[in-house]
Assembly symmetry: C2
Homo-oligomer: 405 residues x 2
């Protein structure tokens, strides 16, 4: 039983958060820096961008995650601290140091994350004041929860947050999360973050494998525009304050329950990011079935999802299925055309390599729905993969062409 509850990352026992406007965003009502703090030290695991060009805070956070111990996260929006060289790295270290000083914890247990424009040095005076004020405002009221969810937003239109509770071996365990992202990544004003807190007692190795597994089928299976950020980060902090029997690979049942709750959280956050995709008017689920391998299925789903022709057809509510089939054809996976079947929202339009004639009448009406499911059956195996994306609209071009650095 997974029950959603309010309070996002401060719903689990022992977590507090504080945030303020320090001057990185223009509008003074918008918070742009914040701290997430756990009363007890936490085990931590995280996944970072695989981009070769890595923002400075990611370098700092990687070292923390290597040790597996964290006590706090400090995060700012409005400036990504990326492509900023050695000075950028020192600035990220300073953020950790200042946060540690104020909270009386170790600097190598502070995760740092920054999102916003690339290629500008952080205004450190503003950052210093922001960290100081955020640490003074730590709390676990509902306003704290909503403020931190908003403080990490850039081009996001809505805050993205969730918390769930579940029972593991008789104990109530809570997991909460906040996330941001609107372009899959837009290096000037958007990257993808998800910070997850839990009071579960869990071994470090198990925490690492749980977050990896969960990310593979959620955040790694979404795309808005196919542009990977220098700053992507999914991190989980587990402080053990639920006092459940420690979850390890040996407590199979506990592990399954925890993984299920975590998957629920990450999939929810991933879908929220796609729904808030820049300029998005449609939420699109791409299912590839009957593939030889999951990797084949993922490749095809990814290729379809990144075709601007598929994305504009969906934007135009046009059942132009030839674009979908031809995109599948250049995914680098061997296909047998005569075995293919394609349905959109369960209306089949292409079967055994031939168009279904006459064209089903329901096809035009299903394209008008807000949620479109593309179902491609390869007929060559029994593996599946699902990916979530959105359409490509004129508004996406506006957001990214009319914005000036």
């Amino acid at each position: 039983m997974i029950e959603t509850i309010p309070g996002n990352i401060i719903a689990p026992k022992g977590f507090k958060t504080g945030s303020v406007h320090c001057g990185l965003k223009r509008n003074k009502r918008n918070h742009d820096i914040g701290i997430i703090f756990s009363e007890q030290p936490c085990k931590t695991a995280a996944l970072f961008t695989t981009n070769q060009i890595v923002a400075a805070p990611i370098k700092q956070s990687r070292n923390v995650v290597k040790n597996g111990k964290a006590h706090a996260i400090v995060v700012n929006s409005g400036n990504a601290n990326a492509c900023t060289g050695k000075k950028g790295e020192r600035d990220a270290e300073t953020m950790a140091l200042l946060t540690a000083e104020h909270l009386n914890i170790k600097p190598d247990e502070v995760l740092v994350a920054s999102t916003g424009i690339i290629g500008h040095h952080l205004p450190m005076e503003k950052i210093k004041s922001g960290i100081s004020k955020s640490s003074q405002r730590l709390g676990n009221q509902s306003t704290h929860a909503i403020n931190i969810a908003k403080a990490i937003m850039t081009t996001d239109l809505v805050p993205k947050h969730i918390a769930v509770k579940t029972k593991i071996n008789g104990k109530e365990v809570t997991i909460g999360a906040i996330a941001k992202g609107s372009g899959m990544i837009s290096p000037d004003m958007a990257t993808m973050f998800c910070f997850i807190t839990t009071d579960a007692a869990i071994s470090l190795n198990t925490l690492r494998s749980c977050i990896k597994r969960s990310t593979e089928n959620s955040f790694n299976q979404i795309t808005v525009d196919g542009h990977m950020s220098t700053s992507d980060m999914v991190a989980i902090l587990a402080n053990g304050m639920a006092h459940n029997r420690t979850i390890t690979s040996s407590t199979k049942n506990d592990l399954t329950l925890f993984q299920k709750a975590l998957d629920y959280i990450t999939l929810n956050m991933a879908k929220e990011i796609v729904k808030d995709g820049e300029g998005a008017t449609k939420f699109v689920q791409i299912e590839i079935h009957e593939a030889k391998s999951i990797s084949d299925a993922k490749k095809i789903a990814r290729t379809i999802s990144e075709s601007p022709l598929v994305k504009t057809a969906i934007n135009g509510e046009d059942p132009n299925w030839g674009r979908i089939v031809s995109a599948a054809g250049y995914a680098g996976v061997t296909l047998d055309e005569s075995k293919l079947k394609l349905s959109i929202n369960n209306v089949t339009i292409y079967r055994k390599g031939l168009p279904v004639t006459p064209t089903p009448k329901r096809l035009c009406s299903v394209m008008k729905k807000d949620e479109i499911t593309i179902q491609l059956y390869l007929g060559t195996g029994d593996k599946s993969a699902t990916l979530w994306t959105c359409d490509l609209s004129k508004k996406y071009v506006s957001i990214n062409a009319d914005y000036h650095t």
Copy 2:
């Protein structure tokens, strides 16, 4: 000395063409089917789409090219004859048969090409009448040349054609070409074709290697929207009527001269396709220098060219260089951030992993130019690659979202 001359594919000796409106396009003034014919049988070499979903005419043409002998090309626009199963294959064969009958040549020496919407059977009565009329209208006047260039257009705004003459071992040799393409591929109303004719005498093996080499650095180095067609085709016909000494791998000097003229033709046609890219307002050249390998350089150029964030920034004349550097970072090539240098139209904005400060004033004015050259230096080797693309505009979305099948 390469001299451009009028007459496109009928500029070389012995080639004729004829085209008509047979009813595939709505506007009766637009030709939609045509034949390219050589008085003498030709050696032929061609490259086809690597899409797993292959249009029926490509299957037919592949067999012709295997034998290396062709006498004519029959081509229609308005219907791609793709995703049409066995009936589609029979229809493509019928096109070759009918053309061969009218011209008194062998059907297995007729290349067939179709471009247009996917998933609809060809209206064979219209096609039959179109082939019959085209064969009656064969000629080598300038109107024939312009008509065939227009007959293969779909969403193209301008016809694309060229002819050049050069001297090889004392003999005048002529090469001509027509091309189409506006989306790199748009499976409803666009694919990329280039048909090249020459009167050069050349061995089949040499012809094959020449066209392959030439395509690698021209058509394979352009992209409008990254969506690969089911129908792409570049084919060359060489009838030997220039009576030059036969070009082979042993006649190095002749080969170099021919390759140079052919490269000139294919690069010109490739660039024309990009300039006529759907919704394009800018012509963009992406140069990657100092790479470890050409393949690394090509990968990075491709990744930058396919980023909608880079393409929209160029559309908005925004010098948002962080998008270019971060795209390079996820190309799958190892980079050393501290060695990178980025210039736009020779204005350097990022050097040794750091932004150039203050930002060069000329940067904003160079972004307003119609032709943008992105120059990324990796500092890890001495290999280079160049790729050509265009921006992503609201008009691209309109063309592909507002069009209804």
